[in-house]
């Protein structure tokens, strides 16, 4: 399973990441960070859909997203 | 100092260029303006031969900012101009003072305000000694009076610039720049080409911590701290103030004049001495720091003062500040646009003497 990590203290809630995700799994959470921004997240139930494409990280102006990719195993997940 | 025996007959402008070369100046950034053009002309080939670089900039603004860059990189560099161009250089000079970048700047003062003329004048004294740009700062300023002194002080200017991380100004005028005199050139020993090794931007080779040369201090208390630091540096220069005193020991009247006017006044003093009149000359060599202590000493000895300048009265403020608790100074202006002769100075000096 590929995944992203959002550094919540760096996220400014601009939501640009939500516009580029090809599988549409990034949303604004209900949490505020210390700077008062409502941070982006991938809800638990959608996590497994992440393809590790890194588009979200590419457009994030705050380098707040780290991307891990897991190569697909033979015979599916 | 290894004195070379030869004598050469050159203009003040060329003496400054050769002095810079002797001081191992490696970059020169120029822009044409009369009466300093001999300096960039000389440097355009001399810098390349010296293994350095020369740029004719698009403006005095750009030339001074190139100087800021080369100085920040820790390289001995220089620019030169004349009065209207100096107004444009003040931006970068203020930044250099604020971010403590060493550099040498030459002003061959011409008549003003505005375009003025291309003849000699001393109208830029305030600009040269008060920090000519924005903000609270000063820079070291030399006021050479002869072609030899122009050569010598240019070499000194580079040392002061790097020792104190400050822009240093050499303030001459059209007389000094255009006048030819025989001089003895010399080469300073032990010039450190890497004097900026501990602070200059040079790349983080070897993974050292990054360096930042800046004059922006936004955090609370930071700018006050920087200004305090700068002020302490300026205060420490007091002991470096220099002057020439000629026949002041028994003088009743001391003429205060700098640069070319100091030299013309010296001729007048010589003439009066031949007539037995007790006149002397006090010629500041550093205009900032101003040699106030030496002047005050003369005031304490009961001497009177007449300041003569090629402007409407600027250095006279510094003279009066130096002697203010004891006496005052008379003032005689030579208007820009006129070329004074020793004869012309006789009448005001005589009037002062007799007004005892």
């Amino acid at each position: 399973m590929s995944r992203i990590e959002v550094r919540e203290d760096r996220c400014k809630g601009c939501l640009l990441c939500t516009t580029v995700c090809p599988v549409d799994i990034i949303v604004q959470s209900d949490r505020f960070n210390v700077s008062g921004y409502k941070v982006a997240e991938v809800p638990a139930e959608l996590k497994e859909k992440c393809t590790g494409c890194a588009s979200c990280a590419m457009i994030c102006p705050d380098v707040a997203i780290t991307v891990y990719k897991t190569p697909k195993k033979k015979g599916g997940k | 100092m290894s004195k070379q025996p030869e004598r050469i007959f050159i203009k003040g402008n060329e003496a400054i260029a050769r002095g810079a070369l002797a001081a191992r100046c490696k970059c020169f950034f120029g822009y044409p303006i009369t009466p300093q053009n001999d300096i960039p002309e000389f440097m355009s080939s001399a810098m390349i031969k010296a293994g350095g670089d020369f740029v004719q900039a698009e403006s005095e603004v750009a030339a001074a900012n190139m100087l800021l860059g080369a100085g920040a990189a820790g390289i001995r560099a220089m620019t030169s101009s004349s009065s209207p161009g100096m107004s444009l250089k003040q931006e970068a000079i203020s930044y250099m003072a604020g971010s403590e970048v060493p550099a040498v700047v030459v002003n061959m003062n011409r008549g003003g305000p505005g375009l003025g003329d291309i003849g000699p004048a001393q109208g830029d004294y305030y600009q040269s000694t008060r920090g000519g740009g924005h903000g609270d700062y000063r820079h070291f300023t030399f006021g050479p009076g002869t072609v030899q002194e122009a050569y010598d002080l240019t070499i000194r200017a580079f040392d002061i610039a790097f020792e104190h991380r400050t822009p240093v100004l050499i303030l001459g005028d059209a007389i000094l720049g255009q006048m030819k005199e025989p001089i003895t050139p010399w080469e300073p020993e032990g010039v450190d080409d890497e004097a900026g090794r501990d602070w200059a931007i040079s790349g983080r080779t070897g993974g050292r911590d990054k360096r930042l040369i800046k004059s922006l201090f936004l955090a609370e208390g930071e700018l006050a701290g920087q200004n305090k630091h700068l002020q302490a540096k300026y205060d420490s220069w007091t002991d470096l103030a220099e002057c020439e005193q000629f026949e002041t020991q028994d003088a009743e009247l001391v003429i205060c004049a700098y640069g070319s006017i100091g030299r013309i006044a010296k001729s007048a003093v010589r003439k009066f001495r031949k007539e037995g009149k007790k006149v002397g000359l006090f010629r500041p060599i550093t205009l900032y720091p101003f040699p106030s202590a030496d002047l005050k000493k003369l005031a304490e000895e009961g001497k009177r003062f007449l300041t003569i300048e090629h402007n409407l009265g600027q250095m006279v403020d510094d003279v009066r500040l130096a002697v203010r608790t004891i006496c005052d100074s008379e003032f005689f202006p030579i208007y820009p646009g006129n070329l004074p002769t020793p004869d012309e100075l006789e009448a005001p000096i005589l009037a002062c003497l007799e007004g005892k």
Partner: protein, 256 residues
């Protein structure tokens, strides 16, 4: 759950300092910084780099990139860069300037540094507005765009037309590379990185002056959400400021 065979495919570049930026949400300076940082790492230029900072929101870039830096007065970065490069020709020297800085007050310095073919690289962030001072009209402000000093919208008859810098720079003799990219979408960000890389290579290979303009969003001063700002780049900016390479001497057989 962390799997053992997962690979880190995107992380902060090493030359970008790990700290929060002062930029507003959705501001593209952060993207431009990151691209520059990635290239400094990939091209192994970090230790050789000397950054010439400029005035505007980008003034604090020196806090975000782990390289030696000097702060230039408003618009003078190409002149300061000239001095630095002439003094230290073996170092990698680049400026990073906004549109007010480069295309207005610094027009003389950028034109002449480019024309002299200074071996420096220039990253030019065009967001059509003076950001740090609060949203005044810039030389790149679009026709009809409302700013705090063009409240009725920029009008050609009164304020002139927006300046297209990449095209102007491309027309100058000493320029080795001039291009315009955009930071509004992933595809354009990837292309922008290639442009910056080419511009940097011009300095590394000593072929001449390298210039990259980056169309960027300023949601705060455009009074838009970051998402709306990115849409504006597509709909309004790119049609006026076309993307692409305007000069590349490596495609022309070199500069004489």
């Amino acid at each position: 759950m962390t799997e053992m065979n997962e690979k880190l495919v995107f992380d902060k570049p090493e030359s970008v300092i790990d700290r929060a930026t002062h930029y507003c949400p959705g501001c593209h300076h952060g993207i431009a910084h990151r691209l520059v940082g990635e290239l400094l790492d990939e091209m192994q230029l970090t230790e050789k780099s000397l950054l010439i900072g400029s005035i505007g929101c980008s003034v604090f870039l020196y806090n975000y990139l782990n390289v030696d830096a000097v702060e230039a007065p408003h618009g003078r970065a190409p002149a300061v860069g000239t001095g630095v490069k002439r003094a230290r020709p073996d170092n990698f020297v680049f400026t990073y300037q906004g549109d007010g800085d480069l295309a207005s007050i610094g027009m003389a310095e950028i034109m002449h540094a480019a024309n002299r073919g200074e071996k420096i690289s220039v990253v030019f962030v065009n967001n059509t507005v003076y950001g740090m001072t609060g949203g005044q009209m810039a030389p790149t402000t679009l026709i009809g765009q409302k700013t705090t000093t063009s409240p009725a919208g920029r009008c050609v008859a009164h304020e002139g037309a927006p300046i297209r810098m990449a095209e102007i720079i491309a027309s100058l003799g000493g320029v080795a590379y001039a291009a315009r990219g955009s930071l509004d979408c992933v595809k354009n960000i990837r292309a922008a990185k290639k442009h910056i890389k080419k511009a940097f290579e011009c300095q590394v290979n000593a072929t001449g002056f390298g210039f990259v303009e980056l169309l960027s969003g300023c949601p705060t001063n455009w009074k838009m959400t970051p998402v709306q700002a990115n849409e504006r780049i597509q709909k309004e900016m790119i049609p006026y400021f076309p993307l692409g390479v305007f000069k590349d001497i490596s495609e022309e057989g070199g500069i004489c």
